[in-house]
């Protein structure tokens, strides 16, 4: 009887173990290993923790049900990202997406760690300034989904344009332009005042931003 060291086993081998040998423990290792990443992605796509938890659950149920369909040509994480994007899309359609309300942030802050150095759990930097995380998250939530998805995959999950194209099924050129447009929208909402141009057009010095 094989007794593999599952914790050291690759994702793809775990999927194989699960698919071929119905190795339940392999699925659970995959779940433990990837749940944080899936949750994090779902949270920024959907805007609130409850929906993120539901989407995460749906993703791993899909992993279970579709493990046999996983084509080992691409990485498991690519597949996982795609399942997550799709689950969030489906969930977003079912529910009105509720961006993180400002009032709820106090509880949130304990559960999210400051990414940038020098910030404590509440997102305050050394000078006590409250992080503009809320503003940024609200801006992100206000973007159209087709821009938010590639931006989150790029800036929060470090996927390449190529990987984003694989995950979302849209051409690289479209990935590029949606990210660019989304960033410009976001910059507007964040109150940046420099001039910006419309996608595809070189900006001229006399163009002004639309009001946010």
């Amino acid at each position: 009887m094989r007794i593999p060291d599952l914790e050291a086993t690759s994702d793809e081998d775990l999927v194989r173990a699960f698919t071929r040998e119905r190795d339940q423990a392999a699925l659970e290792v995959l779940l433990r290993r990837h749940q944080p990443r899936v949750f994090a992605l779902a949270y920024h796509l959907l805007g609130n923790r409850a929906d993120a938890a539901d989407a995460t659950q749906e993703v791993f149920v899909s992993v279970f049900r579709k493990a046999g369909l996983f084509r080992h040509r691409s990485a498991f994480t690519t597949w996982l990202h795609r399942l997550t994007v799709n689950a969030c899309h489906d969930l977003g359609r079912k529910r009105a997406r509720t961006p993180q309300p400002l009032a709820g942030v106090a509880g949130e802050a304990e559960h999210t760690a400051g990414r940038s150095s020098g910030r404590d759990a509440g997102g305050r930097d050394a000078f006590g300034q409250v992080d503009d995380r809320l503003v940024v998250e609200a801006g992100l939530a206000a973007l159209p989904e087709e821009q938010r998805v590639p931006i989150v995959l790029r800036d929060l999950h470090d996927l390449s344009y190529q990987e984003i194209a694989e995950v979302t099924g849209i051409p690289i050129g479209t990935v590029k332009s949606r990210i660019a447009r989304g960033r410009m929208d976001l910059a507007t909402r964040l109150g940046n005042t420099a001039d910006a141009g419309k996608a595809g057009e070189p900006a001229s010095g006399t163009q002004r931003l639309k009001d946010a």
Binding site: Q24, H44, R49, A52, Q57, F60, Y161, R183, L186, A194
Partner: protein, 311 residues
């Protein structure tokens, strides 16, 4: 001629060719408008990038996990102490000295019980041993509790650990039994399974639905939408796999590995074999370990397994 925001944004992401990069950099050095647009794009990218990661709380994570396992007809399993196996087990499996491994297999009790005598008769039933597949487990904890406490298992493990490499404890000729010829394993097993013949009930849950196979994953419950299974086949009526078959399959044909103990049982209501193996200590003086497998009688799939230090 200015750069488009797509190009500037791709440049910020380092997703441009070397030629494009050179061109953009040269342009940015000379064009304030483009430089400020690039700064905007960078700032937006950085604002997103420095958002704190949203991690599930332990509570959220647990609920998600439970939700997944419920929806897929499973319960959480607990695996214990894999790291301790790494050094000790592989050589055993790979090498020739694997007979030291005794697996308490909850495999078909019929042949086993027939030849056992009982030295512990706490609640032993008279009558045909193995009748009614006494052991019913509902969780890995049940399995572990049973294995850790059952006198018969304990005897089996002790005997296995001191066994000759070539044979089961107290057995005559068990080591020579052919690989597939496990239908009469009784002679290789230690005596006295103890209370093994008495029905032992763990957990109060009613059995889950009978196994009915789905596509790749193990048999789902009725909760699973049939549409998801591209390869449904009705296994409920299939004959059960014998201990011999399951051991051959799970042990990949090796005959030098033997369970220390093997019993029929149910796991979450599914007919199963409980197999207990003694794992040699990874190093002299280190504690030995016990590997316990519960395999489905329907298809020999591993329903749960655990490894822990020998009690």
């Amino acid at each position: 001629m200015h750069e488009t925001i797509e190009t500037l944004s791709a440049y910020v992401d380092n997703e441009v060719s070397a030629a494009e990069r050179a061109r953009v950099e040269a342009h940015l050095a000379a064009c304030i408008d483009c430089a400020s647009r690039k700064a905007l794009l960078e700032r937006a990218s950085a604002s997103i990038g420095t958002l704190p990661p949203a991690e599930p709380t332990p509570d959220e994570a647990r609920r998600i996990q439970e939700g997944v396992l419920e929806q897929t007809g499973r319960r959480p399993s607990r695996r214990i102490g894999w790291s301790g196996l790494r050094g000790g087990l592989r050589p055993v499996w790979a090498g020739a000295g694997a007979l030291a491994l005794v697996i308490v297999a909850v495999v078909a009790g019929s042949a086993l019980f027939r030849n056992r005598t009982h030295s512990d008769t706490t609640a032993a039933k008279a009558g045909s041993p193995g009748a009614g597949a006494a052991l019913a487990f509902d969780s890995p904890r049940d399995v572990r509790s049973f294995v850790a406490a059952d006198a018969g298992v304990k005897h089996a493990l002790e005997a296995a650990e001191s066994a000759e490499p070539e044979g089961g404890p107290g057995s005559a000729g068990a080591g020579e039994a052919p690989a597939q010829g496990r239908s009469e394993p009784a002679t290789s097993l230690p005596q006295a399974p103890g209370a093994g013949t008495a029905p032992l009930r763990f957990g109060a849950k009613a059995p889950v639905t009978a196994p009915d196979a789905a596509s790749a994953p193990a048999p789902p419950t009725t909760l699973q939408a049939p549409a998801d299974s591209s390869r449904n086949d009705l296994r409920a009526a299939a004959p059960e796999r014998s201990e011999a078959e399951c051991l051959a399959e799970r042990q990949e044909g090796r005959s030098d590995i033997r369970p220390a103990d093997a019993r029929p049982a149910t796991y979450s209501g599914k007919p199963a074999w409980l197999l207990v193996y003694a794992v040699p200590a990874p190093a002299p003086g280190a504690p030995g370990q016990v590997a316990v497998y519960v395999v489905s009688r329907a298809d020999c799939a591993v329903l749960t397994y655990q490894v822990f230090e020998a009690p």
